[in-house]
Structure formats: C-alpha cells, structure tokens
Amino acid sequence: MARREISGYFYSPVAYVIGALFLLASGVWFFHAIFRPGQPATLRPLFEAMAYIMVFATPLLTMRLVSEEFRSGTFETLVTAPVTDTQVILGKFLGVLVFYMLLLSCTGLYMALIAAFGKPDPGVAVMGYCGMLLLGAAFLAVGLFASTLTAHQAVAAVVGITILSVFAIIMQFLTLHAPPPWGQAAARLNAMTYFKDFARGMFDTRGVVFFVSSTAMFLFLSVKMLESRRWK
C-alpha cells in the first residue's frame, strides 16, 4: 500500500505543485537569509522557516490520502480485501512519509552549498534534519487524520491546516505572550518549542516524545475514524 501511495504521488499534479512551492519557498528563504556574505554557516533559519511552511504544506500533501478513496469508491474495494484498518493507515502514512523525505532530501543541496563556502556544524545539520523528520511525521499524521474525516479533499486540507495552526502558530503565540501559567502550558503543547531545540542542534528527549506520541495518537485516531465509518 505504501508503494502504491508513493507511485500515486508521482502521478499526482498536486504533489508536484506542493513540492515545487515548498522548494521555491525554501530556496528563496535560503538565498535571502542564509547564503549571503557574512552570514553564519548554518541552516537553522531555514529549518525554522520550513517548519512553518509545513503547517500548510503537509495537509495539502495528505488531503487526498483517504478522502479520495471515499470519493472514488475505491475505499470499499480496499477494505473488502483481507487488510486491517491499521494496515491501511500505516501503509498510507509510510507512503506519504517517504515522499516527504524525498522532498526534504532535495534541501540537501543547500547544505552542500554551505559546506562549499563555509564550515557548518554537522551536529546542527543532523539534529535539524532529525527535527524536520519528527515534525514532518507528526504533521503528516495530523493531515492523514483530517483526510479520514471527509470525502472532500479541500475540507480535509482546511481541517488539517487548522489543527496544525493551533499546535504550531497559536500555541507559539500564547507561549510568547500569554501570562503564566497559560504561557507555560502553551509551551508544552507547542510544536515549535520542541522543534527549535532540534534546529539549534540540541537533542532533547522531550521533543522526541512529543513528536512520536503525537504521531502515534493521530495515527490511532485515523484508524478509529476508518473503523467508525463502517459502523454508520
């Protein structure tokens, strides 16, 4: 199923558009903020920018995963084969994760450019990519869950962006501006708090726990949503 999803992405015009926009945005940011004389040789600003871009890009990547199956009628054929709902969700998640990793690997070009002209800290780079992977997995799981809610891709995208906006943008705002204890509570739920450590080159197990458990939770909810569809 993962294999089918991955090849599906290569046929999908939306995936190419998202990919191109993502690379365009990250490219512009890279050349504007990083690749200039006198700037430190680090991808950290890029990672932070990419995390915000992902709030919008990942639901657009995941919106078709389950919604399209509902709409086109392939869901019925899929679940009347001997596959469990868990296998369906995991297969789709794996498929989109691999596509995401391919997109991410394209930014390796920027790393190479920096290394050619400066001395980047490899630790920061590795941790940054780890963070992007963990954050990406969690965001993709949210998008996949949004896709199980509806047969309309656009609705799935909007729901996904809304959920991610709460946990990335709104929580970030509250962390910075809300009075304690609200500000501190918001920080615990803020994806960007945890991600920033990775972007700085720090390995914090709290961040790993946050992203891994978020991923697991939304994948679990996705499985439950699929199950509940059958009981209607």
Binding site: G8, S12, L78, V79, T80, P82, W231
Partner: protein, 322 residues
C-alpha cells in the same frame, strides 16, 4: 457455504434489512432479486464485511462476518455495483497491487494475473493491460473488477449488479462468464433485471422492503403466482368463430384476439389457474383448424415479481420505522 440468520440492518430509524434468513449451498448460483432500495446491496455489504449488521448472524465458508472478518475476506471475491478505480494506475499494476493485498505469494502473482486476464477478456486487445484504469470504458472497468475478485480463486463470489451499465453484447458475455464460473465457485449475485437472473441462477431469493418475499427456482416461482392462468394459441380460422369457440370453453373468463393475416393469435384467460391446453387442442381439432402455437402463458416471472414486491412494499409502508 453462505448462511444468513435473522439479519437486520438499521440506519438510524430506517430499517434497510429486516430479519432475513437464507442459505446458499456450495456450488450454486443464487440470484438476489428485488426492486431498487429493497435491501439487496445492504445485505451484500454485510456479507462482504463492509458494514456490520445491527443484529443477526452471517457466516461464509464457516467464518462469521463480524468476528472472523479477515478470514471471510480471504474467501470471497467481491465485485461492487460501481467499482471504484485508481485512475492513474495501469491495469496490470492494479492487479499486481490487489494480488499483494490478497496475500498471493510473489512468485504466483504473475500466473494468477495471467489467468484472470484471460478469463475476463483483458488479454485482448494486446495493450489492454498497459492502459490506465481511468481511460477504460465502464464495461472494461467491470471486467477489471471481476478479475480482481477472481485473483485469489475464492470459493465464494459476491457480485452486485454485475451487468449494470453494460451493453447487450457485454451483458451476454458477462452472463456466460458467470455461468462458467459457477462450476468452481459459489456465487451470489444481485440484480433487478429478471431476464438476467432467470438465465444464470439456479435459485432466486426475492427481497422487497428489506424482507424476503419468496425463494425458489425460477420455475417454482413462476408456478406459484396465484390467480388466473393464460393460454396462448395461434390458429387459422374465421375470427368470429374462433372467438365464440374459445369463449365457450369451460372455465374460460375472457379472450383477447389479434389477427395476423389469416391467423388468429388468441390469449384465453382461465380463472381456475389450471392447465387447459389439452381441452383447447381437442376443441381446435374438432373444428378442423390449423394450429401453429399452443402454450401456457401462466405466471411469467415478471408477473410474480411485480405481484410479490408490490405486496411486500404495501406491508413495509405500514410497518413502524419505515
């Protein structure tokens, strides 16, 4: 092979299937017949483990559809009414994907795909297997869906309106295919087209208003129509004389007559539902008329279907919760 006991399915306040019970023996082809909205597709979706029933029990090949769903799905091949396709996939690619989902060992997949492609008429034209599913006509999409259902040689085939949307030639070839598959598989198919089920099914289950209205072979159902019988006869004689003679037959209730040149085609209604062909033949012989057709027009399957489903729908409308 398929056992259904008191199966009920409710969607909120609407009862789509109301306590139906039936069995399908191994190796038989059973037609599930009923008007639109009768509960045929809902019943099939319960058998394919797509929807759980509200109450009741169903087993396929001995496995319960609710508690042993994976085992059931390994033993069935399901062709839905409007098969969904992944438009960007090629036929061969799709069948490879489905073969993997059906747990067919890697080395056996190619053979399985070749076999079903041949069976379902997908190996000609030459490039059919390389075409995108999105480009195919409805007839071919249904053939691909059937091929998918046959990949793992399941003992049971569940076909929901297998000929819907097909042209007459395609309907005929699908019908012949189903008959040939009946040799090695137990088949349950649903339809609202009488002619189709009459020709393919050994047994019919008529469902209307969520309940079973009747069950039996096509002949049994035809004969069970209660009411007047009709005999059709085509004879050569003077029109007035023919009408007089036929009207005066014992038990005759009315005669409809049509002239075709010198021949008269008459339909005689008898109120007692008996077989009066011998008497008619004697009467015609006594008059010395030439005869070229004499047959029992009693209780066509269409009469039966309309009668039984009409009755059932009246009853359903009066039921609470409908």
């Amino acid at each position: 092979m398929i056992e259904v006991k008191n199966l009920t399915k409710k969607y909120g306040r609407i009862t789509a299937v109301d306590g139906i019970t039936f069995n399908v023996d191994k190796g038989s082809i059973v037609g599930f017949l009923g008007p639109n909205g009768a509960g045929k597709t809902t019943t099939l979706k319960i058998l394919t483990c797509y929807h759980p029933a509200t109450s009741g029990r169903a087993t396929i090949a001995g496995f319960d559809v609710l508690t042993q769903s994976l085992d059931v799905r390994r033993n069935i091949g399901y062709m839905p009414e409007s098969p969904g396709v992944y438009p960007e996939m090629k036929v061969r690619e799709f069948l490879k994907f489905r073969a993997a989902l059906r747990e067919i060992p890697l080395l056996k997949r190619k053979t399985a795909i070749g076999r079903v492609a041949e069976l379902c008429g997908l190996s000609t034209p030459e490039n059919m297997m390389r075409r995108n599913l999105g480009e195919l006509s409805r007839g071919y999409k249904q053939r691909v869906a059937l091929a998918d259902a046959l990949l793992h040689s399941p003992p049971v085939l569940i076909l929901d309106e297998p000929t819907s949307g097909l042209d007459p030639a395609q309907i005929r070839s699908m019908r012949e295919l189903i008959l040939s598959l009946g040799v090695d598989h137990t088949i349950i198919l649903s339809s609202h087209i009488l002619a189709e089920v009459e020709q393919t099914c050994g047994r019919l289950i008529v469902i209307a208003g969520g309940r079973i209205a009747a069950s039996g072979t096509p002949d049994e159902l035809r004969k069970s129509v209660v009411g007047p019988s009709r005999i059709l006869v085509e004879i050569k004689g003077k029109r007035k004389e023919v009408i007089e003679t036929l009207k005066n037959l014992p038990g005759a209730d009315g005669v409809e007559i049509k002239s075709i040149g010198q021949w008269r085609r008459a339909s005689i209604r008898f109120t007692d539902g008996g077989d009066h062909r011998a008497e008619i033949a004697r009467a015609i012989h006594n008059k010395g008329w030439a005869i070229r057709e004499l047959r029992d027009q009693a209780g066509s399957l269409e009469d039966f279907f309309v009668h039984v489903t009409y009755e059932q729908n009246i009853e359903t409308a009066g039921r609470p919760g409908q």
